[in-house]
């Protein structure tokens, strides 16, 4: 029940345990993990703006396994970089709004892991992998400053994801994302006429950027 305990620890206690070896999850483990993810989804939906996208269990389960293995790669320093490709496979399905939100149930912890991994070893091949994942799942990586353009079309098309993504950019005070033309109007609309109270630095930085 490695994955189930991992998800349960992540949601309920905020700390996780991973196996000392890379492994494949058992069928029974995946089934129980799905029940936890379903419950987590139902609870988390209440915190989402508008109506949250539906649950895509495939994406949710893939993301949970992905996060599990990522933690293993951070902790087990003896693992070879060549194993990254085989043990951190990219998501094969379509990145729909449902998939984005479902994967985010666990991928939202990616920015914290990114900071941890970067602090341990900035040259770690895992960091490049992080950036790659962040570009593919920008909704979950709103706190990671990205230099290259990301595809926000699926996020922009869903009001719940769009609003939540704006919330996250503001929460992370991620100015590089704020400056992007596709994000700036949403951030400005969110702050309204209260930017000076809610985020005093925003006006200064954005004015410098615009001028």
């Amino acid at each position: 029940m490695e994955l189930t305990e991992f998800i349960s620890g992540l949601i309920n206690e905020g700390n996780v345990t991973v196996a000392a070896d890379l492994l494949s999850f058992e069928e029974a483990d995946l089934r129980t993990a799905a029940i936890h993810l379903q419950q987590y989804y139902e609870d988390d939906c209440r915190e989402m703006p508008y109506t949250a996208p539906a649950l895509d269990m495939e994406a949710a389960r893939w993301a949970a396994g992905y996060l599990y293995t990522t933690v293993q790669f951070i902790l087990l320093r003896n693992l070879d970089a060549s194993l990254l490709e085989t043990h951190l496979p990219a998501y094969k399905g379509e990145r729909t709004a449902a998939a984005i939100y479902s994967a985010d149930l666990t991928l939202r912890y990616l920015p914290d892991l990114f900071l941890l991994a970067k602090g341990l070893s900035p040259e770690d091949p895992l960091i490049a992998r992080f950036y790659q994942t962040a570009h593919q799942w920008p909704f979950s990586a709103a706190a990671i400053p990205l230099t290259e353009q990301v595809d926000l079309s699926a996020i922009n098309e869903h009001p719940s994801l769009r609003q939540a993504y704006t919330d996250r950019i503001i929460q992370a005070r991620n100015l590089s994302q704020c400056r992007l033309p596709e994000n700036l109007p949403f951030v400005q609309a969110a702050l309204g006429t209260h930017a000076a109270i809610l985020w005093p630095q925003f006006d200064t930085v954005i004015n410098e950027f615009i001028l």
């Binding site: 609870d43 209440r46 915190e47 703006p49 919330d167 702050l191 309204g192 109270i197 809610l198």
Partner: protein, 235 residues
Amino acid sequence: MTESVITLLPADIKVLAQLRTRTDMMAAWYQDQIWVKGMADHAFRQLPALRTWKLDAFNRLFVHGALTPDLTLPGLEWQPLTEFIPVSLPASGLPAYVTSKHAVKLAPCQRDEESFAILTEMRVLETYIASAPQIRLRHLRFAASANARVLVAGVPLPPIPGTSYTLRDRLLMPAGYDFDPPVIRSLLIEKMEAARTHFLLFHVNGQYEMLPDTSFLHVTRSAVRLTAETLRHVL
């Protein structure tokens, strides 16, 4: 010269009051007795002490002539006598008795104050939080009543329809209104013990509701939605 410490009965506070201008003496309450410390001069020794000790540099208390300490001075909130025994005005020689009660009335006022809270319907708040950015919510608190009314507090307030209230001295007044006469405010605060742990929400007709501090929750989408769901089941 070392300090002395004595204990007095509570009733002896009147005797101690005769020395209240002394700045070199301190007093504190401990276990229903008055503890006084200071230099044991003539006036100090005249106090009707229950027990008397000498105090050494290590806060140990010695009975007169004893070589070993009796006890260690407990950690007390020592106050100068002027603070320990505050003065109060004497009662009037010919006191009048107020037999009629004055109804609290509110009247429109000219003062321009920023609104601090808004009283609205739960469904209005629920609709607002669904589309509002999180940054517009996180400084807000809300308290809901069983009849699905909700008070939202925090600045800036959300742009939703409702009755605005200003806040001063834990009294929430309808915006644009004050007590008639305004001096009622200080009397109310003085009279009402509840004003220390509750917010008093006044209505234009002078009636008020008491909202305990503990009834306020942070405005999060989940907290508002769960509260609204609960109210729907209750009503």
